[in-house]
């Protein structure tokens, strides 16, 4: 009993519940929804789809979590996604041997380095020039898609390159490569922030910048770093997204991904006011959002009410997490427990 109550008090209880409810809804509609089968040595099924589709969003949301923890926000991730895909695919398309591993590797490196540079640019504007994050990243958000279009000439660049396809659609050890990449980076960031002191320093800067400065933190460096990381992760996400469809769409790749990422971060319990952050929370938030997207299709929600449906789910998850509601629920449970005990006697 107390174990159950302990679980229900956990920070992530309600987001996880939301995820389970969505999965349940899907299973009710399509009974084989949760089934995972092995086809040609790969795992296959809706849960795998969810994981694979979550990968790019997870990457973007990871960077966003760190940025938000420092009280910032990064609106430019969508543009970076577009640029990264555009650069990689243009490079591969123009190379003499699009199918070779070497070409793809070079393209990936170029794209990731460029994304790092773009992230650093944001970091520079925020930490050195001192522009408010929302405006600083708005600059790249606006200009970025233009740059991506400039690279692709406004067209959708399409390629056929088996190694590149592997990134988004390939399998390794039965699991999608994209999931392995995102999972690996997730683990890396977790280690980076929790096994070193970086996490704590980021939180300190986010909670009280003035105190952190006096405590000797190099807050500029830290802020710079989180934006650089955010850009880099967005770039990798861009590679996954473009590999997914084997095309670089400068206009639509990663469109509104910043909103989804922020939403995921917040559903995961990280406050937009900065400070304490939770990477596992972000992971759950991302899964909720991807599952929600799939649910809309599976349930056959008409497009015209899709936004309404999303709004209702988001509001429900947030309301359940609200402190007021939590207190109420707890009080009710407390009242209910003695009664239950009496009944068993």
């Amino acid at each position: 009993m107390s174990a159950v109550m302990g679980v229900s008090r956990h920070r992530l209880f309600w987001p996880v519940m939301a995820l389970l409810v969505l999965l349940l809804l899907n299973t009710l509609r399509a009974p084989t929804f949760l089934a995972i089968e092995v086809r040609d040595g790969h795992l296959f099924g809706a849960p795998i789809d969810i994981l694979r589709n979550s990968s790019p969003l997870l990457l973007v949301a990871l960077g966003m979590t760190l940025v938000i923890a420092t009280r910032g926000i990064d609106l430019s991730v969508g543009a970076v996604v577009a640029i990264s895909g555009a650069v990689a695919l243009s490079f591969i398309a123009s190379s003499s041997d699009p199918g070779s591993v070497g070409t793809v590797l070079v393209a990936v490196v170029i794209a990731v380095v460029l994304s790092f540079v773009l992230g650093s640019w944001n970091g520079f504007l925020v930490s050195v020039v001192g522009i408010q994050p929302i405006i600083a990243t708005l600059v790249l958000m606006t200009a970025g898609r233009g740059i991506a279009m400039l690279i692709t000439g406004g067209q959708i660049t399409t390629i056929t390159s088996a190694p590149f396809r592997t990134l988004g659609s390939g399998f390794l050890l039965g699991l999608p490569v994209a999931v392995l990449i995102a999972g690996g980076i997730f683990a890396l960031v977790t280690v980076l922030t929790r096994r070193t002191a970086l996490g704590m320093l980021i939180e300190a800067v986010g909670i009280n910048p003035a105190a952190s400065r006096l405590a000797g933190l190099r807050s500029r460096g830290i802020i710079f770093l989180v934006y650089a990381l955010s850009g880099t992760f967005a770039g990798i996400a861009g590679l996954l997204i473009s590999s997914n469809v084997m095309a670089a769409d400068a206009n639509n790749a990663g469109l509104f991904i910043e909103l989804d990422a922020i939403l995921a971060v917040v559903i995961g319990g990280t406050s937009l006011a900065g400070g304490k952050f939770s990477l596992s929370g972000t992971l759950v938030g991302v899964l909720v959002i991807t599952t929600l997207t799939l649910t809309v299709t599976v349930l056959g929600v008409p497009p015209s009410v899709t936004p309404l449906f999303k709004a209702v789910v988001v509001i429900a998850v947030c309301l359940l997490q609200a402190p007021v509601v939590q207190r109420q629920l707890r009080a009710r449970r407390r009242a209910a427990v003695p009664a239950a005990v009496e009944a068993t006697v």
Binding site: A197, L201, I222, G275
Partner: protein
């Protein structure tokens, strides 16, 4: 020592209906029972002190009364009527005006607005700014404060902000005025002014609840006191009938050692400096609009006190030494080598630690735990990549929680939830943990109870003995004189004198220097 003074008072003789009567108050926070069955009675025309160590529950009691916290059980009667306030606004409407412990004003607004917010003079629905400002000026004048009401609050030092908060509390025609540590950063003159105002109000029939860790002040101003210990009620006493020693023993709950220590604390005399290189040497260091260029040497093992009036520039001087502000003139030498202290980080790199006077805005990182707050500066020095191993951190944290008596002694508690005094101790621990060679302490004893204050003073003395240099700022001149080897006197943002401390130097000497009259020329290097 008579038995009557020791025993709680019998039923109050005077006013049959107290202004406020709280009884059976219990409040718990997750993990802490902050108050347990506490009673408090406040009568019209009386100044009542609420006494207790850091974390005893004084501020919580006040917040329970004003509706910031909801009580778990207990009753609050205002003028005999049972009341539950849902928030400070309701308490204010019922005639209870409060100055909370941490200055809770809006730094972005002007002084006048901070005083008058919610009570602005209006003509119809429109605020009459001229009248509002005039009114605020009156309230400031009552406290002898002549600052421009139109200036932004953040441009004033903490002490001024505290006075502004008090002025705000006076705008309401209150029947009960609550002052939670209003004097912690005021100097003697301001305190006297405040007490005069308090007495006037008392004579007008206002009930006043006063919290302070300065025993002199409590004895000087209050008629009655209620003592709390560990969230429990010890008793209510008439001030005149309770000797200090007993008060302290009731607050602490054990022997009187601490207070004795406080009294016998050794008088510092000038250390031998011949041939030694100063650890830190400031030459013509200054910053336009903030501090006039000054020279200052701090030798190893020396405590240098900074004395001066409110706003005389002590904080600004300290900030220049700590790299918190950038000087625009002069140079700094550390161990004889010229250095540039561009940021607190570089200062820390030269083993210079600085504890700021504003613990809320520049000190604690509220949402981090006690452990994290203590190791923060240490960690900053090591860089992010090399995390302090858990075991080492635990050791350091345990050591300082123990040494400074941080309560609750839980490393995982959020600093935000600690009482004010305990937050200050956490900050001290943070700096001590970096093992600095020069420790700059700006009002380190602000809001700290007698026991802990003695503890900190002893600590500072001990550290100096071990060879650490200390720059010590305090609004309490006694403390400065007692602890320092040398005292630098500030006036109008300028270092005006420097005295070698000795048996002959007294507080009045320093005061006269601050005031600008002359003293024994032999002790002064102006």
């Amino acid at each position: 020592m008579t038995t009557t003074s020791d025993a709680p008072l019998a039923a109050p003789a005077a006013d049959p209906v107290p202004v406020v009567q709280m009884s059976g108050i219990t409040i718990s926070f997750p993990g802490v029972k902050a108050l347990e069955d506490v009673a408090l009675t406040l009568r019209a025309g009386e100044i009542h002190s609420l006494m207790g160590e850091n974390g005893a529950g004084k501020s919580t009691m006040i917040k329970a009364l004003t509706g910031v916290y909801q009580v778990d059980s207990g009753s609050i009667r205002v003028h005999g009527q049972e009341m539950t306030f849902k928030g400070p606004a309701q308490a204010q409407a019922a005639g209870i005006s409060t100055v909370y412990q941490e200055v809770n004003l809006c730094e972005n607004l002007s002084v006048a607005e901070n005083i008058m917010l919610g009570h602005e003079v209006r003509r119809g629905p429109v605020i009459d700014w001229r009248a509002t400002r005039a009114r605020s000026r009156e309230h400031l004048a009552a406290l002898n404060l002549d600052i421009d009401p139109a200036s932004t609050l953040s441009s004033h030092s903490l002490a001024v902000q505290q006075l502004v908060a008090i002025a705000r509390a006076m705008t309401v025609d209150a029947r009960l005025l609550i002052l939670d540590e209003p004097t912690s950063s005021l100097d003697a003159e301001e305190v006297a002014q405040l007490f005069a105002v308090m007495r006037t109000l008392r004579d007008r029939g206002v009930a006043i609840l006063f919290v302070s860790h300065f025993l002199e002040q409590v004895y000087a101003v209050s008629d009655r006191m209620t003592i709390l210990r560990n969230g429990k009620l010890v008793g209510e006493y008439r001030t005149a009938e309770l000797p200090r020693m007993q008060l302290v023993s009731k607050m602490i709950g054990t022997s009187l050692e601490v207070l004795e220590e406080l009294e016998e604390n050794p008088r510092r005399s000038a250390a031998t400096r011949e041939g030694a290189t100063p650890y830190l040497q400031a030459i013509g260091l200054g910053r336009r609009g903030s501090v006039q260029p000054f020279d200052l040497d701090v030798y190893p093992g020396e405590v240098v006190g900074l004395a001066g009036l409110l706003g005389s520039g002590r904080t600004e001087l300290a900030r220049l030494l700590a790299g918190a502000d950038r000087p625009d003139a002069g140079e700094v030498k550390v161990e004889g080598r010229p250095v540039r202290l561009r940021t607190p980080r570089t200062a820390l790199g030269h083993d210079i630690a600085f504890s700021s006077e504003s613990r809320k805005t520049e000190g604690i990182v509220g949402d981090l735990t006690v452990r994290e707050n203590i190791v923060l500066a240490m960690q900053a020095e090591r860089g992010w990549a090399r995390r302090i191993p858990r075991r080492q951190a635990d050791e350091v944290v345990a050591k300082y929680i123990d040494a400074l008596g941080i309560r609750p002694p839980q490393p995982e508690a959020l600093v935000r939830n600690l009482s004010g005094g305990n937050q200050q101790k956490v900050l001290l621990a943070r700096w001590l943990a970096t093992a600095p060679k020069l420790l700059i302490l700006d009002e380190p004893t602000r809001g700290i109870d007698v026991g802990a204050k003695a503890e900190i003073q002893r600590l500072v003395a001990g550290l100096a003995e071990e060879g650490m240099s200390v720059v010590f700022i305090s609004a309490e001149l006694e403390e400065v004189v007692r602890l320092s080897h040398r005292i630098a006197v500030m006036r109008d943002r300028e270092k005006v004198a420097e005295i070698d401390n000795s048996e002959h130097v007294t507080v009045p000497d320093v005061v006269s220097l601050i005031a600008g009259s002359d003293v024994h020329p032999s002790d002064v290097h102006a």
